[in-house]
């Protein structure tokens, strides 16, 4: 039996598996022309990430990821795509102009450079041992939210309110008359 499936390094192989899935899916999100295909691939990416979260002991976050992110936000995505009944985007292939390509390469190189530069001195700090019971669980994160970060939490509610008002205002038919053309 290959050591990959060996019980104590099972999580690592799971992680790599999920990582590959996430990367492939996100590439597809970016390159597919059909919006629905894009959405589906995005959902796949999110789910794989949720898996990774779980592997990293962030169980609550993984749950939230699946529930809120994949479940709610992506549904809205699909809903809007259906509402606008978008046809395939454009006939021609996505025309990545050289400038944009260069910019992307530059950015990727930057991020990789940053990662490498800080990786060695950051990673020098030894990994802390975790107490699986109390880490990443609903209880611990809940405590955090309602004790340490209470203000931030309340602010998010305000944040959401503004979002709702904005969305309603922008999208409502009455205001659209303001459009000039």
């Amino acid at each position: 039996m290959p050591d990959a499936l060996h019980p104590d390094n099972l999580p690592a192989t799971a992680f790599y598996l999920l990582a590959v899935v996430a990367i492939v899916a996100s590439i597809l999100v970016v390159t597919r022309r059909n919006p629905v295909a894009q959405a589906m691939n995005l959902i796949l990416t999110l789910l794989s990430l949720a898996g990774i979260f779980a592997l990293l002991q962030a169980h609550f976050v993984a749950a939230i990821q699946i529930l809120v992110y994949a479940g709610a936000i992506l549904v809205v995505f699909i809903f809007v795509i259906m509402l606008l009944n978008l046809s395939d985007e454009e006939i021609g292939p996505p025309r990545p102009s050289i400038a944009k390509g260069l910019a992307v390469l530059l950015v990727a190189a930057m991020i990789w450079g940053a990662a490498v530069r800080c990786a060695d001195d950051v990673l020098a700090i030894p990994a802390a041992t975790l107490d699986p019971g109390s880490y990443g669980t609903l209880a611990s994160v809940g405590l955090l939210i309602y004790r340490d970060y209470l203000l931030a939490f309340e602010l998010t509610s305000l944040f959401i309110l503004i979002g709702i008002v904005g969305a309603v205002l922008l999208a409502s038919r009455k205001v659209s008359g303001g459009g000039d053309k």
Binding site: A12, I73, A119
Partner: protein, 100 residues
């Protein structure tokens, strides 16, 4: 045991792909999706580090980021809908009122 640098690497790659999506795609919806990707890459990095240094505070932050993503999607789509109704297109190139 998942090595941290791989998690960070994954996060960087996802973030890069998201950026490419934002810069290349002409369709606003595609741009929004790419932004979602970038946000998720961020979340992954948070969780990765949290796992390494047992700082579960990051989980709260990830939560807030998810909220942010939600609100952003909502407002974004409102704009897209308004624009679609006015301009009949969601193509980013046609919308250049801000020309200098």
């Amino acid at each position: 045991m998942i090595p941290l640098e791989h998690v960070i690497l994954l996060s960087a790659v996802l973030f890069g792909i998201g950026t490419v999506g934002v810069l290349i795609r002409r369709n606003l919806i595609a741009i929004f999706m790419s932004i979602e990707l970038m946000l998720n890459a961020g979340n992954l990095a948070f969780v990765g580090f949290a796992r390494q240094y047992a700082g579960d505070g990051a989980h709260a932050v990830v939560l807030f980021i998810v909220v942010l993503a939600a609100v952003e999607a909502a407002v974004g789509f409102a704009i897209v809908v308004a624009m679609f109704r006015n301009r009949g297109t969601v193509n980013a190139d046609e919308v250049n009122l801000m020309k200098g």
